[in-house]
């Protein structure tokens, strides 16, 4: 390669690396702001803003969903398998909302530590499979974990 072209190649390389480093620093500095939601353990640790609305993300705890008598309000627990936050939401839940499913809720914590949500979004996972495969996976999982849970408990 002749020297002029080599110089241009090096210049382009330097430019791309320079931009990449600058953006990496910027993203690192704004890391918290780029998080779309807080996990329950972060909320419990006090990382979430206490006065401002924020988003809470996690899995809906199985067996925790309670419909209130007014028919629109729902209470459920959101967990990241470490900590749990109770969420109360009035409105229509998305189709994918169900127990064990990931959700992202937008709202504020009230004085009792209950998260009052004004929006609930369902987060679906990256697995795609037909229902019969999902059912057989679940059976296999249950068969593998049930005896272990029985003997493993102290």
């Amino acid at each position: 390669m002749n020297p002029v072209r080599k110089k241009r190649l090096i210049l382009i390389g330097l430019m791309v690396t320079g931009v990449a480093i600058a953006v990496a620093f910027a993203l690192n500095a704004f890391n918290q702001n780029l998080m779309f939601f807080y996990a329950p353990s972060e909320v419990m640790a006090g990382d979430a803003p206490p006065d401002h609305p924020f988003r809470l993300g996690g899995l809906v705890t199985t067996g925790s969903v309670q419909r209130q008598p007014d028919g629109l309000t729902t209470r459920f627990d959101v967990t990241d398998n470490v900590k749990t936050v109770t969420v109360q939401y009035t409105g229509i839940l998305p189709d994918l909302f169900r127990e064990g499913q990931g959700i992202v809720a937008h709202g504020k914590l009230n004085e009792n530590g209950v998260f009052i949500a004004d929006e609930v979004l369902a987060k679906h996972d990256e697995n795609y499979m037909p229902p019969e495969v999902a059912a057989s996976l679940k059976d296999a999982h249950n068969a593998a974990t049930t005896p272990a849970a029985g003997t493993g408990a102290p």
Partner: protein
């Protein structure tokens, strides 16, 4: 082989070669597209969670892949144009921009249509969606800058630099779902583990991905031919071509 590439870099030969190639690529594209759509919409099983609405994936995912792929092609062609001053590389870079912008737009729109029933929102400002939107603006910026400069060789140099600066966005889009909490789910196919998708769903997805690649090839060659004619309008072979056709 080297001789072949050398000859292809000449606009005249490229023009003729691309003209012969386009119909073949077009037929192949149509074949893959029909097979992929048939397999995806009618043959592939329904999803355990999302039912039939996951099928928009067969358009959304290849379109999103293409938006990243075309950007890399554009930036690479731009860099080659900058370093070796090859006219054809400049032509390929700018011809890719329009197709890339269209695919990015398609990925954003289909994602939005998918998001409303599944997530419950048309749009959220999470890292994946926002960085993909920035990609659309980068494409539009490249197109606008190219058209704003009168002299096309200067314009190509300026747009190549813009495209290269924007390359930093590509890994951000890809890894956004891993680096940050996002509403958008993680990668299904493009990860080191085995793809977490049923094989009967993966096949139409890959068929569609190939179809979109071929579609890009057809459109970029057509656009490049137009661009070459416009740039070389004062050269002998173009004048002769015009005389022969009129």
């Amino acid at each position: 082989m080297l001789k072949f590439f050398h000859r292809m870099a000449s606009p005249k030969y490229f023009y003729q070669f691309a003209g012969k190639l386009i119909p073949w690529l077009g037929v192949a594209c149509l074949g893959f597209m029909l097979a992929g759509l048939y397999d995806g919409l009618l043959v592939a099983p329904t999803d355990y969670q999302q039912g039939d609405s996951y099928r928009i994936m067969f358009v959304h995912v290849p379109a999103a892949w293409m938006s990243l792929f075309i950007y890399m092609v554009m930036a690479t062609a731009g860099a080659i144009g900058l370093i070796w001053h090859i006219k054809l590389a400049e032509v390929m870079a700018i011809s890719s921009a329009h197709v890339g912008a269209s695919f990015t737009f398609l990925a954003l729109v289909t994602g939005s249509i998918w998001g409303k029933p599944m997530w419950g929102a048309w749009w959220v400002w999470d890292a994946r969606l926002t960085s993909e939107l920035i990609l659309l603006f980068l494409y539009l910026g490249v197109i606008a800058l190219y058209n704003a400069v009168e002299d096309k060789r200067t314009a190509a140099r300026a747009t190549s630099i813009l495209a290269l600066v924007g390359v930093v966005n590509i890994p951000i889009i890809h890894y956004s779902v891993e680096w940050w909490n996002t509403l958008h789910q993680g990668p299904t196919v493009t990860k080191f583990d085995a793809p977490s998708i049923d094989l009967r769903m993966l096949i139409p997805l890959l068929l569609m991905a190939v179809a979109f690649k071929l579609f890009y090839a057809v459109v970029v060659l057509m656009r490049a031919r137009c661009e070459i004619l416009q740039r070389e309008r004062n050269s002998g072979w173009v004048k002769e071509l015009v005389r022969a056709s009129s």
